[in-house]
């Protein structure tokens, strides 16, 4: 009954929707129509902004990506249509673009999974009772502020940074001081599933980046953990459930809906980071080469890939997620 009512409240037929905005008929003056008009007024800023500052530029940008854009100083620009040549050039002719794209995507795959696992583990730990919990929580959230915008990429732009990173790597390789490299050698000698361990070590080496990227995810998971009713654990305890079982049978399924939110956030966050090399390449093409068509094509390819990733992960997660209803 209540469900049916809710459905009829939220659904709008075509006729009714049109009549709602045309004065001088019986539908116009109903309470429901008046409410609807107020609602539209409230979101009007968004509609306007979306149409003028999002849809319009997006269309222009698609057209740009399909044409050769030449700047005319003082007058604007001129476009000549050239089909999908820009896309072909971005993927086939540009020396760096597709390499960076593949690199960044694989880095995102590895780091994204690691970020999710890491933030879940940290959230579970932070959900326990111990001294200094508030402080620990505050510190884990700090990267959200300190690795945003200009602060994220600025240090890496320097050659010195690259030099130091290269040096650290070579020192680690030659002397065996690098623990993860030594372990890696040991494990690969024993011949067990090389590629899996390779991925694992990539994650371990990127731990700083992972922790810096997991501030918001930790808080979201933490809120999910705190929303689980203690009576569930009590019941499990009475039935003789061990803590380990309770974790997999209660904690994990209850938090799993948040996995979707966090996955999407992680992917988006990664794709928009300032220190992303694909972004850097696009900026170079745009500001140094002034090849606007090419830059647009590049960003559209990039966005398409991001969307694909979000779609795939949303699909997979949605199938495995359990939605608990009170």
């Amino acid at each position: 009954m209540s469900k049916k009512k809710k459905n009829s409240r939220d659904s709008w037929g075509l006729r009714e929707s049109i009549l709602t905005f045309i004065p001088g008929n019986s539908t116009f003056s109903t309470m429901r129509s008046r409410q609807a008009r107020t609602g539209v007024l409230f979101i009007l800023p968004f509609i306007l902004g979306f149409v003028f500052f999002m849809v319009r530029p997006m269309i222009t940008s698609i057209i740009m990506s399909l044409s050769n854009v030449t700047l005319i100083p003082g007058k604007g620009y001129e476009m000549t249509f050239m089909g999908v040549r820009n896309y072909q050039n971005a993927l086939g002719v540009d020396p760096n673009y597709n390499q960076y794209l593949v690199e960044e995507i694989s880095r995102m795959g590895v780091n994204g999974i690691a970020t999710l696992v890491m933030s879940f583990v940290i959230a579970v730990i932070l959900n326990q009772n111990f001294k200094g919990r508030t402080l620990a929580r505050a510190i884990f959230f700090l990267p959200v502020i300190l690795s945003s915008g200009v602060l994220a990429g600025i240090e890496k732009q320097n050659e010195f940074y690259d030099m130091m990173a290269g040096m650290a790597e070579s020192v680690g390789k030659s002397s065996g001081v690098n623990i993860s490299a030594a372990l890696k050698d040991l494990l690969s000698l024993s011949g067990v599933a090389n590629s899996v361990f390779g991925l694992l070590f990539d994650m371990i080496d990127a731990i700083y980046e992972i922790v810096m990227a997991s501030g918001i995810q930790i808080i979201v998971f933490l809120s999910g953990l705190q929303a689980i009713s203690p009576s569930l654990y009590e019941a499990a305890d009475v039935e003789g459930c061990s803590a380990w079982e309770a974790f997999w049978k209660i904690t994990f399924p209850m938090v799993s809906p948040l996995l979707l939110v966090n996955t999407i956030y992680t992917i988006i966050d990664f794709f928009m980071k300032n220190d992303n090399r694909v972004m850097e390449r696009i900026n170079v093409v745009m500001y140094s080469n002034f090849d606007f068509g090419m830059a647009s094509a590049m960003s559209w390819i990039y966005f398409g890939v991001a969307l694909l990733f979000i779609g795939i992960s949303a699909f997979i997660i949605n199938r495995g997620v359990h939605y608990y209803e009170d």
Binding site: G39, F42, F46, G49, G76, F141, L142, I145, L222, L258
Partner: protein, 335 residues
């Protein structure tokens, strides 16, 4: 809790059983301590990793240039100096650029928050045609990287002409590139930095307000705006405040929008991003011979610049930490 009751029980029991219980007690106690030690170590390690760059930056920022090349100096400077701060202040046009950043960030985030509160409220409390479609647009806004539309926005504002009004009035399109107006317009229409996220957060909050509150207000003759301003807004202040803080902080460090729209205002983050290229010019001013600024020195000055940028944010965070964390928790909790 469990182990304590076990301990109490052992006291009253006979000897052989007591022995068994003691073994159990020792086992569980060591397990408990083991877990908390491991937890403390893990958390300390991770927290240290987050904070360590700040410590290094701070220590390095106080060093004299010769200290940088001295391999016996790792962290603590031998000769403490504040000259680096002066140099960076000169390089980034410090007091002025910081003030510019402050007022633009404040203005922009206030506009963003006003617009997003209205829109979030509309999405949460009203039913209207195409609501699902518009909300899908909000989600789209969250996932489209602004870089995708950067070029065309640039062009659009370089020759701004709203439905041909300006051409009719002044005889030509308006160049808005050099003013803050386009960006304010975008903020007021929810198209600024991460606005989709704020709409989502605020909608999530307003959705959880009980319907009966609104109905009671309506029965007492409260109009729409009155209900919104007098009943909904006061309770929403914490969420709105946290959206404001987020938008302020992200605007403060933002490079993308600042570079595209506020290029004529000398914003600190923009100044910081191009600090390296200005360094050599600065150091060469005195002497005729062109000298290259050593990499280590460049890095040190970048450290100082980053510190100057982040210290106000850290101070702000210390006071408003709770507001930050709680709003995220709330928006995540109820899907």
């Amino acid at each position: 809790m469990k182990t304590n009751t076990a301990a109490v029980k052992t006291v009253g029991k006979s000897k052989p059983a007591g022995k068994q219980d003691t073994v159990y007690l020792i086992k569980s106690k060591t397990k408990k301590y083991g877990i908390s030690v491991a937890r403390a170590l893990l958390l300390f390690g991770l927290c240290f990793m987050i904070i360590q760059p700040m410590i290094i930056r701070f220590c390095t920022s106080l060093m004299v240039e010769s200290d940088l090349y001295d391999s016996t100096i790792v962290l603590l400077p031998r000769n403490v100096t504040l000259d680096n701060y002066k140099i960076v202040a000169d390089l980034t046009n410090f007091p002025k650029s910081m003030l510019n950043t402050l007022w633009t960030s404040l203005l922009v985030s206030i506009c963003q928050v006003i617009a997003c509160t209205l829109v979030g409220y509309g999405f949460a409390r009203y039913s209207f045609p195409l609501k699902k479609f518009w909300f899908a647009c909000v989600v789209l806004l969250i996932i489209v990287p602004p870089q995708t539309i950067q070029t065309s926005l640039y062009v659009q504002f370089a020759a701004f002409d709203f439905l041909g009004i300006f051409t009719a009035l002044t005889g030509g399109p308006l160049n808005l590139r050099t003013s803050i107006v386009p960006y304010l317009l975008m903020s007021l229409t929810c198209m600024g930095l991460k606005d989709g996220l704020y709409i989502y957060m605020l909608r999530q909050y307003f959705r959880n307000v009980p319907k009966s509150l609104e109905e009671a207000a309506f029965m007492d003759g409260c109009g729409t705006m009155h209900t919104f301003a007098k009943i909904m807004l006061p309770d929403a202040v914490p969420t709105i405040a946290s959206c404001f803080l987020f938008s302020f902080v992200w605007q403060w460090t933002d490079l993308f929008y600042s570079r595209n729209f506020l290029s004529s205002y000398s914003i600190y983050s923009v100044q910081l991003s191009s600090i390296v290229s200005r360094m050599s010019r600065y150091f060469n001013k005195g002497s005729d011979a062109a000298q290259v600024v050593p990499n280590a020195r460049q890095q040190q000055l970048i450290f100082v610049g980053v510190l100057i940028c982040s210290v106000p944010l850290i101070v702000l965070y210390c006071f408003t930490q709770r507001t930050f964390v709680e709003s995220i928790a709330m928006s995540g909790s109820k899907e």
